[in-house]
């Protein structure tokens, strides 16, 4: 897929809806994300991951880093509790801390330019 993408001289973006992720188990979500990133794609999650899933994503990413092949991921979400303040009720009710748009890409292709509570600027290179 990467070769096909490069042949078109562009970067593929996978926008994954919350609905599509909703029924997946944690490892299925991580596999879907990392498979896309390994192919050189930028993966955008409509509703992001839970903290536990983020923790496992880091762990699995580390296990897949390989010299000259894969140096890891760049991931961006808004800081917790800054862009939205509805997390308290969620926490009291045992739900995850709100859903947040999340962008994940290969570390050598996605570069964060600026990040604050409400704005993230990133550069995608081929």
């Amino acid at each position: 897929m990467a070769k096909a993408t490069e042949a078109r001289e562009g970067v593929q973006i996978d926008l994954i809806s919350g609905e599509r992720m909703e029924t997946k188990a944690t490892m299925e979500k991580i596999r879907m994300i990392l498979d896309g990133v390994h192919d050189g794609n930028i993966v955008i999650l409509e509703e992001g991951l839970t903290p536990d899933e983020e923790s496992r994503l880091i762990e699995v990413t580390m296990s897949e880093i390989s010299p000259d092949e894969f140096s890891g991921i760049e991931i961006e979400t808004y800081p917790r509790g800054a862009a939205e303040d509805g997390g308290i009720l969620d926490r009291i009710m045992g739900r995850r801390d709100g859903s947040k748009l999340t962008v994940i890409g290969p570390a050598n292709r996605l570069q964060t330019l600026h990040k604050d509570e409400t704005l993230i600027k990133a550069l995608v290179s081929q």
Binding site: T50, P51, D52, E54, S55, R56, I58, E59, T61, M62, S63, I65, P67, S71, G72, I73, E74, I75, E76, T77, Y78, P79, R80, G81, A82, D85, I88, I92, R96, D97, A107, N108, T112, K115, D116, E117
Partner: protein, 403 residues
């Protein structure tokens, strides 16, 4: 939000105390790690009265002379002993490299197995220290492991410079240190060049002192060394790349290490915790970063592999085996990084007690308020691990949160 978090935190703390067993809580240190900075037990240090004493004896004498002496006869763990009753002063250097004296506020002992560096100068001065122990080199400090042949290190001559106290020379009732008139106009006595550095494996105790205000003391041979920061004692390092920033190799610590039974004494009681010092968490590791530090490619690849395993291990500790977290941030850096966002979120989701340490407040561009604003739901404690600033609050907070 702060109220709810506070209530939840308080409940958690009370519950922890109620159901605490004999096993110390495991406190994870998440942030840039490093290593301890200490002297071998037979190294001599110069005292303010001009005499010298083995650092081991200084430690033992101070422990024995405190009102509530701690039995350290066979304790294997690290110990920080606050010096409350004893009045011990040592020759020290001010930031402008002028000699003065400083009060010893803590003594430290740690059981250690690893390399010791014997640093010898052109004039024959020698000292045995742990790899991280900093020497005064110009206006900054260089750890032993980064010293280079012929590099100049600060020395003072203990014999003529620090004779027995003379009237008006030393202290005024123990509350204020004055500079000896004869020393006021003198810069650091001199510089001596490194002639050799030998490395040996050592297993046994190593010792250190904390010196108020000036943070340096002098070895029996006149070599000036920086004291260890309090934070360094309880977690391998929070000073990160402050010392020798230009030569700091990323991911220098690549595996989570655990220190058991670290005992912190506060207000007549003690708190014993296990500390898990973790590598800096990241989402990417590129072995080519190491190549920029003159590391061979094979070694760089091996280091990157160890680094990835270390980060994975750190995440596993966080999910499975940590009872509380000290999250260390560089107050001179932007706190709004993705790793900080995710890790604080992960810690919160596990409802672990967390203290945020805003380190490096000694830097000009330090901004503690920026950290407090980024994570208003958590207690932020400003400190300088390098300079030892605000360590009393650091220890008070550790005792309160994790005791």
């Amino acid at each position: 939000m702060g109220l709810l978090t506070g209530i939840r935190s308080s409940i958690a703390n009370v519950t922890d105390r109620l159901f605490a067993d004999e096993t110390p809580k495991r406190i994870g240190i998440y942030g840039p790690p490093n290593a301890g900075k200490c002297l071998a037990p037979d190294e001599e240090v110069v005292l303010a009265d001009g005499t010298t004493a083995r650092i081991e004896s200084v430690f033992n004498d101070i422990v024995a002379s405190e009102n509530d002496p701690t039995d350290v006869s066979d304790e294997p763990h690290e110990e920080w002993i606050p010096v409350e009753q004893s009045d011990v002063r040592v020759p020290s250097l001010r930031a402008d490299l002028r000699p003065t004296t400083g009060e010893v506020t803590h003594v430290f002992r740690q059981r250690y197995a690893g390399p010791l560096y014997t640093v010898k100068t052109e004039t024959g001065r020698t000292v045995r220290v742990s790899p991280e122990h900093p020497f005064v080199t110009g206006t900054d400090f260089t750890p032993a492991r980064d010293l280079e042949h012929r590099q100049s290190i600060a020395v003072v001559d203990p014999e003529p410079t620090f004779q027995s106290p003379q009237p008006g020379v030393l202290t005024d009732g123990g509350t204020r240190t004055t500079v000896a008139p004869a020393m006021e106009d003198a810069a650091v006595t001199g510089w001596d060049d490194v002639a050799s550095i030998d490395v040996e494996h050592y297993s046994g105790y190593i010792y250190d002192l904390t010196v108020a205000d000036h943070h340096t003391f002098t070895t029996g041979d006149g070599l000036v060394v920086h004291n260890t920061t309090l934070a360094n004692r309880i977690a391998k390092d929070w000073t990160g790349d402050e010392i020798g920033a230009e030569s700091h190799v990323p991911h220098e610590t690549r595996e989570a290490t655990r220190k058991e039974n670290v005992e912190i004494k506060r207000n007549g009681s003690s708190v014993t915790i296990d500390i898990v010092d973790t590598p800096g968490v990241t989402t990417k590791v590129d072995y080519e970063e190491f190549l920029e530090f003159d590391i061979e490619e094979d070694d760089a690849i091996a280091r990157s592999r160890e680094a990835t395993e270390g980060v994975a291990e750190a995440m596993h500790w966080l999910r499975e085996d940590i009872d509380g977290v000290i999250y260390v941030l560089d107050s001179a850096q932007d706190p709004f990084t993705q790793v900080n966002t995710m890790l604080i979120g992960i810690i919160e989701s596990r409802e672990l007690p967390v203290l945020i340490f805003a380190n490096k407040i000694d830097l000009d561009d330090s901004n503690v308020q920026r950290i407090s604003s980024a994570f208003p739901q958590h207690e932020t404690v400003p400190l300088s691990a390098l300079e030892g600033d605000n360590m009393d609050e650091v220890y008070d907070q550790i005792a309160e949160y994790f005791g």
